[in-house]
Symmetry: C2
Subunit: 339 residues, 2 copies
Amino acid sequence: MSIQTPATIEDVARLAEVSIATVSRAIHNPEKVAKSTRQRVNQAIAITGYTTNAMARSLRMGRSNMILVLAPDIGDPNFSSILIGLENEARAHGYGVLIGHTQNDPERGLEYLKFLNSNQAAGLLLFTGHAPFGHQEMTQRLPPSVAVFEPVFGSTIPYVGVDDTAGARKAAEYLLSAGHRRIAFIGDSKTRLGHLRRRRGYDLALDAARIPPEQRMVIDGEGTIESGRLAVEQLFMRDTLPTAFMCVNDATAVGVMNGLSARGYDLPKDFSVIGFDDVPQATYLNPALTTIRQPRSAIGRQAMALLLQSLSQPLAESREVLIMPDLVVRGSVTSPAKR
Amino acid sequence: MSIQTPATIEDVARLAEVSIATVSRAIHNPEKVAKSTRQRVNQAIAITGYTTNAMARSLRMGRSNMILVLAPDIGDPNFSSILIGLENEARAHGYGVLIGHTQNDPERGLEYLKFLNSNQAAGLLLFTGHAPFGHQEMTQRLPPSVAVFEPVFGSTIPYVGVDDTAGARKAAEYLLSAGHRRIAFIGDSKTRLGHLRRRRGYDLALDAARIPPEQRMVIDGEGTIESGRLAVEQLFMRDTLPTAFMCVNDATAVGVMNGLSARGYDLPKDFSVIGFDDVPQATYLNPALTTIRQPRSAIGRQAMALLLQSLSQPLAESREVLIMPDLVVRGSVTSPAKR
DNA sequence: GATCGGTATGTAAACCTTTACATCGCATAT
DNA sequence: ATATGCGATGTAAAGGTTTACATACCGATC
């Protein structure tokens, strides 16, 4: 019941009647110690319940086997399955994963940076844009880092994520192929790189279909449910309406569908909606949301692989790994209503 | 551009022309060092960009200022706001928070336990039931721990969470007051303590209203969306139907509403549904879900407070802190349809 | 002027590892 | 019989802190 202090390597050594060096070797280089000795050591370990003090180990070795994942919002529905990808890959290479939640607060970011500076983690994974600290000075002594899911704005940190442009283009093309010509883009942004690229995919597709710019409607938004709802209101103050809503992400799409339902429209009969991300809820909307699927676990896996690789040899140039997403057809897109 | 090794306390000492002891004191016990010296040290710190190596510090002191939060599923929509409560409270006391994701895998739990054994974290917060490791041996040398959101089954670990029984009772009473008499309970469980208690709240309320046991319908379920959907199917194989569904949590309610819509029913006209938790999506369902709101940030705050307190003086007995939840009325409950 | 008390600082040990280097035995080659 | 080499083990330093204890200094007290 009482908390005894954990056994140290010395306790094991004493019990096995060897030196601490031998214990250490028996654990990490078993082939370097005689079989009989090894057995005695292992027995002693079992008896004492010894588990090596990772902190002392990292202090001595100048590197740990933990990777820190920094996320501004762990509630992001994309995060959890990306994380699983990250973890599986890390695990396969003998690394553990810890998560830090910055809440977009630079102070908290700094706190975790100290954690890194103390070698308590060997590498850093940045989830969703924005470096978590004033990057000028700190970037200097940053450990190996990789951005995942969204590139870090204005930095050269290597990035692994979806091919936003191509994905958005697929979405727009699907809308076009269903017969839509007046397609609104909801969730335009000046600062979020991933969203900028999705906007570009939209433009590319509409250019190719020779939809003139004046038939395009583009509404700003920060990619939240609320922003989608708002966009509907703004759009209804205009004289012409779109027949389809292409949303920068699923959250926006939820807001749009909500706003439309609230106005008494019947989806997908009256309007088509398409999203981007394929968040878990997408299936449970009514109608179920047609969207672009983020290959989340692949992204996680590859991001971690890149990071782990850069631990041994620093990456040459800044790199971007883009993964192609697929269209997921559900019920929210139909041919445009005649009106 | 190149990664220089971080400055150590020695670098600072040399620059300020004092001993390392004085530097350490200047940082942690400023009143113990002369003003002029302190200034020199601070200057040196600024120049070198020194930040104390938390690992060496913890190694020496035998305790860190990080708290580890272990979650089997960080995708749980309840997790994120509880976490914020935890973090804010921790921060106010000079502690940082790290998250470990166990995915219900005991191996991973063990890995994080090693982390704790190395004093890399001073305390442990267990989110949502189930100790993350075979607890017999390990429980012995567990650091101060608190369970949050759901008690750990069959353990004496202190617990902070919602008053499930009282909350469920509120829900059932609301349904009764709306005129319902045939109320089904969806999501019964034998192993999840929190769910057991919600079931109890249901029984208590129906007892008080003198609803005979044969009019109660109780369907098993593990609290997932899918389980809710399934429950609807099971229920429709019976001869009598309920007029209202009381769901063990919101996820189940989503499944139930989905199943009902799929069968062509019109909610809330044909059936009433009530949930428990008030997850963020609850507002966006159609109809918006009437439910019991988890006081999430309060739970987080109090759990961390309890843990931090138990760091200085071990808790006497096993404790449970139960917080009373409120009913949130939205659109999914009406009077029963006449049929 | 010697003693005392108090404040400011320094010295060195301790926390728990890993690992370069040294040592020891023993078998093989000469 | 001596030299050589090799495998198994031990010794001790190093990694960056904190802190008990020792020292040095200075002003005040007798």
